[in-house]
Symmetry: C2
Subunit: 136 residues, 2 copies
């Protein structure tokens, strides 16, 4: 089996904050929304249904972990979960904290406007807080 290799666009646009049994948990570099991207560390997978049943269940519970941690840390109004992948075909699941005054609410975040970078200190603090929430 080939070693897992992260798509270069995911590598550029997000930062690894934790690796679990299945996924690389990554923080999007776009600060407009608190936004995690879960990448199952499996080769040549585009659709969730291409994962084994066990991996699908693991993805479900790792998505739950990401969702509950993000809800707890941010107090979001709504968590948006999506596997789209029309552009980047390597399977990845978006877990996004949404608020009623955020950009494009209540519409979707994907493809909306231009990414905005975190300030370094805010990004590092958010990563620390999320790591603690994901591990507790």
């Amino acid at each position: 089996m080939d070693a897992f290799k992260l798509d270069h666009r995911l590598a550029n646009d997000s930062i690894s904050i934790l690796k679990t049994g299945l996924c690389d948990f990554r923080l999007s570099r776009d600060c407009r929304w608190p936004w995690l991207i879960l990448v199952p560390q499996r080769t040549d997978i585009t659709e969730i249904f291409e994962l084994t049943p066990l991996d699908q269940v693991m993805l479900t519970f790792e998505t739950e972990l990401a969702s509950t941690a993000l809800k707890k840390v941010t107090g979001a109004t709504k968590i948006n979960v999506a596997a789209i992948g029309n552009i980047v075909r390597q399977l990845h699941v978006h877990v996004v904290a949404r608020f009623e005054d955020d950009p494009n609410w209540p519409g979707p975040i994907w493809g909306y406007g231009k990414p905005e970078a975190y300030e370094d200190a805010k990004r590092d603090q958010f990563i620390k807080t999320m790591r603690e929430a994901l591990s507790s």
Copy 2:
């Protein structure tokens, strides 16, 4: 426990084609994309993580069933799966067949343009085909 009651907007915008262990499988009345909406028949649930672990696993496998059936029937380039719910808060999962020449490709479908209705005969034929694919 209160009886399950479908949100009136989901009731208006989609048609039930099958009920399984957990979900009401519904076809969106918007014909621009082949688009299923899975509604877990549980009361007062907004987020996937509010479902019991067993229901989360059932939702995973029913989403897989919807995805593989939609892929098989339509030959889609990509299946988009999402639980957003910023407007309609009753938990529902979108499973959408996407093509490179469809409206707003490769962007998301939610909130894009105006819904277009199926012709009755085409809708009925698609429902029949999907029911067979979901049951085989």
